[in-house]
Amino acid sequence: MNNKLLAENIVKKVLKLGADEAEVYLENNREFELTVRNGDVETIKQATSKGLGLMVFKEKKLGFSYTSDFSDESIEEFAKRTVQLSLVADPKPWNGLPDFKKGKIKDFDLYDSSIAEIPNEKKIKIAKEVEKIALAYDKRITKSEGGYFRDSERETILVNSKGISYSSKRTGIYFGADVVAGEGSEMQSGGWSSSKRHFKDLDTIENVAKEAGKRAVEKLGAKPVPTQKAPVVFDRYAARAFWAGILFAMNGDSVYKKTTFLTEHLDKHIASELITIIDDPTIPRHVASLPFDGEGNITRKNVLIDKGILKMFIYDTITARKAGVKVNTIASRYGYRSPASARFLNVVVQNGNVDREKIVSGIKNGFYVKGLRGIGTDIPTGNYSCGSSGFWIKDGEIAFPVDGVTLGGNVLDMLKNIEVLANDIDLRGSLNSPSFKITEMAVGGKK
């Protein structure tokens, strides 16, 4: 049976079984994964798979199930069981499907039909080459964790009892390498990759390989620095982990439950005026773009922080109703095994206008953050404490690699002290930021 038809039939079936509302989210996946190491193919994995999640509401009670077994008898049993499950829950007046603004979903050019045609030999060649060039980047690169190539294709279908019936197809393609540099008994790892929806958009093998090599070598000799206060530059890629913490703290349910430090800060200045953050899943061909979100809303741009002012929290439909707020919902889906929930789709911290090099050259004594271990933000309190690595800046220049230090502070102080924003954003994933400088932070290392 056609998958969309199957989804529509399940919705009809559970309505007949007594559900008031229902939604089916179905995925159909193809994946190919290849790794090479030291010039030889190590693994080849390929498969197709599918699965669907069914959410039902009966008398404002919620039930959810998923299955990858699409046989007729199993689906019949599955539908019945899900309706029964909903009876266990307590009714909540806010439960139910979103009120949809009807419209046509847009085509963001997320599907590259040429990917399925790429012969395995070519994929193997790319993976071997990226590893080879990364290994050759520097004499001190001695070991390989491998080169890899992956591509995938996913069809997603969302059908519900409010008349929504969408489907979309997207492709993904990804390659890169991980290598290890060594000197004496010291080892440092470095890796880099390129991930796109279209084959043609991928970065060159050369660029990816050299970046992987560089990232391993540049850390050799890294050491802690004495504990002190210093200006700190967050590199554009490291910055993503910092923003992730703030975005978690903007979760609408946490705001409702008052378990986030941002609870009282809506419409207030929480960051430097340089900071504008937009959730934008509508960028053509971008890896995090989607025509409809996890709940079946047509995707749209939302300004989260505007010139330092916190404009909105991130709610899914049910939480927004519960909290009694009227807001554009933003819900994402981790796959068919769970219902949609409030989460940003593609966050873009808007670019600044200063060259990154210029920021560094203006610092006499400071820390350039290249790696963060975790998000660092304690969501209830807004305390920030994060293990970090990078470089020490001395007299406007990168002086030596640093590792084993913590950055400490308070997120609100940090946000307000973002003094300069660079113009170097690179739209690589679902969270994108330029580099920026914070006036001063606690850098903890040796006593």
Binding site: D40, F64, S65, Y66, V88, K143, S144, G408, G409
Partner: protein, 510 residues
């Protein structure tokens, strides 16, 4: 909370492990236990019970291009969850995963394919796809399948899958009312019960044919407290390879109280001091440190690729003389326990570090073969969609002889880690960061005030050398899901009370 260690013979082993080390590890401890039957009330879709003939056919097809080894992994898994928040049962959920993964090994190469369609036609195609990793003229004849019985380390009489969600809801309500009554400052009580019930069948070209039913259950309470602008969290859980008979209203009450205690204790917490301090780790709840910061670097894939910081350390001193580390898949009822790994190898107890010396690594089939090492029962995979990797089961630091009170008394100023939280480790350098959701200041040998924002930082190899005191009070209480290469796997961990002479604390204060 209750310990899930084995009865007397097992405890004795843990104690003697320090002095007896590797010799005792080879004793067939499992013979103490019966071949218990899996819970009969877990209903498995009969479609997954592939016949011996079908399995043998698939193995033969998988070897048709000359692969050295072929394996069929069949899985049927049912997961259930029920969740309470804001004084309401939020919802109940259920999920079914079913599929077959077929793997072919050839030299250092792996071919892998999987299917969620169990028709013979589809499985045949899947075997063909995997077979192409080899391209030899000579084709190997597989060994005929011989079914083998395995001992059981699970404590499951009643499958949680057989319990209706309405019954599980009673536990949730109990914990909720305990939490609501405990203290007025408690703002949120979240409670969940989840279980997975998985049948696996493994058959390979060496003639191994085993099946296992793996049950996991988990009862979790988390508490949020607000007072003025102060906020804190607490959590507690019971989990393991445990049947539903291990949960009742009393258990729900105990767990809820423990979570409340932690949340209230942490409310007045002050920012942690930054710098280098001695730390004391509380028994039972800090094993995650050894799992993440040490255990991963002893998994044989990183050893073979020479990318682990311990790759050339076998037979060498890597820890203080009082430190011994084990990975033991046979701890009765523990979350990481398995009767067989996901390659069909019986589970075992492996001493990794014996009195400071690195003595062994954790192997899956591929790495064991390539390194000419023995199998240790650590080839694990998340599901049929993944090929196995060397993974831990239950990892713990073995007991020592120092009095836990003396350990605390020996610290003039330091940090008491009551519970270790999430961590981040680079397995190449061994560098780590861990958060500490419950930690206290130690002043003059006494625990004084709660601290927030503690980050433990350093490198695993460094910390191992700085373990200066170890207590006799080993408990295995940690439980979670370990992630590696995108695959999640249930594990557990443990530790006795211990002291690390110095570790870097990253805090907000300078």
């Amino acid at each position: 909370m209750k310990k899930y260690l084995k009865p007397i013979p097992r405890r004795k082993f843990l104690k003697t492990g320090i002095t007896g080390g590797a010799i005792i590890a080879t004793l067939p401890v499992w013979k103490l236990f019966s071949f218990s039957a899996p819970p009969s009330d877990f209903h498995v879709n009969p479609a997954v019970n592939l016949s011996k003939e079908t399995l043998e056919k698939l193995i033969k097809i998988a070897l048709q291009h000359g692969g050295e080894f072929a394996e069929v992994y069949v899985e049927y898994s049912v997961g259930n969850q029920i969740f309470l928040e804001e004084n309401k049962i939020y919802g109940a959920g259920r999920g079914v995963d079913m599929g077959v993964g077929i793997r072919v090994l050839h030299g250092e190469k792996t071919g892998y394919a999987y299917s969620d369609d169990l028709s013979f036609e589809k499985l045949k195609q899947t075997a063909e796809v995997a077979s192409h990793i080899a391209a030899e003229k000579e084709v190997k004849e597989p060994v005929g399948l011989k079914s083998s019985k395995i001992p059981s380390y699970y404590l499951v009489k009643v499958s949680p899958d057989s319990i209706v969600p309405q019954d599980k809801a009673k536990l949730l309500w109990k914990a909720n009312s305990i939490g609501r009554e405990y203290d007025k400052k408690i703002n949120q009580v979240n409670v969940s019960f989840s279980d997975t019930n998985k049948k696996i069948i493994i058959a390979n070209s060496d003639g191994i044919w085993v099946e296992d039913v793996q049950t996991l259950s988990r009862f979790l309470v988390s508490i949020n407290v607000i007072k003025g602008d102060k906020r804190s969290r607490g959590y507690a859980y019971k989990d393991g390879t445990l049947g539903y008979e291990h949960y009742d209203l009393k258990v729900a009450e105990e767990i809820a109280k423990d979570a409340c205690r932690m949340a209230i204790a942490m409310l007045p917490a002050e920012s942690a001091p930054a710098g280098e301090y001695p730390i004391v780790m509380a028994k039972g709840h800090c094993g995650t440190f050894f799992h993440e910061a040490i255990g991963h670097s002893l998994e044989s894939d990183g050893i073979r690729k020479k990318t682990s910081c311990f790759w050339d350390k076998k037979g060498k001193e890597i820890a203080s003389k009082i430190s011994s580390l084990a990975d033991d898949g046979t701890v009765l009822g523990a979350r990481g326990s398995i009767n067989v790994d996901d390659e069909g190898t019986p589970s075992q107890n492996t001493i990794l570090i014996d009195k400071g010396k690195c003595v062994d690594f954790l192997n899956d089939r591929l790495n064991a073969k390539l390194m000419k090492a023995k199998l240790t029962g650590n080839g694990r995979r998340e599901s049929y969609q993944h090929y196995p990797l060397p993974r831990m089961t239950n990892t713990y630091l073995l007991a020592g002889e120092d009095d836990p009170e003396d350990i605390l008394k020996s610290v003039k100023k330091g940090i008491y880690v009551a519970r270790i939280g999430g961590g981040n480790v680079n397995w190449v350098t061994g560098r780590f960061v861990f958060s500490v959701p419950e930690g206290y200041l130690i002043e003059d040998g006494k625990i004084t005030k709660p601290l927030k924002g503690i980050q433990l930082m350093g490198s695993g190899p460094e910390v191992l050398k700085n373990i200066v005191m170890v207590g006799p009070d080993l408990e295995i209480l940690g439980g979670g899901t370990c992630g590696k290469d995108g695959q999640g796997k249930p594990v557990s961990d443990g530790n006795p009370t211990l002291k690390v002479s110095k570790i870097t604390i990253g805090g907000a204060k300078v």
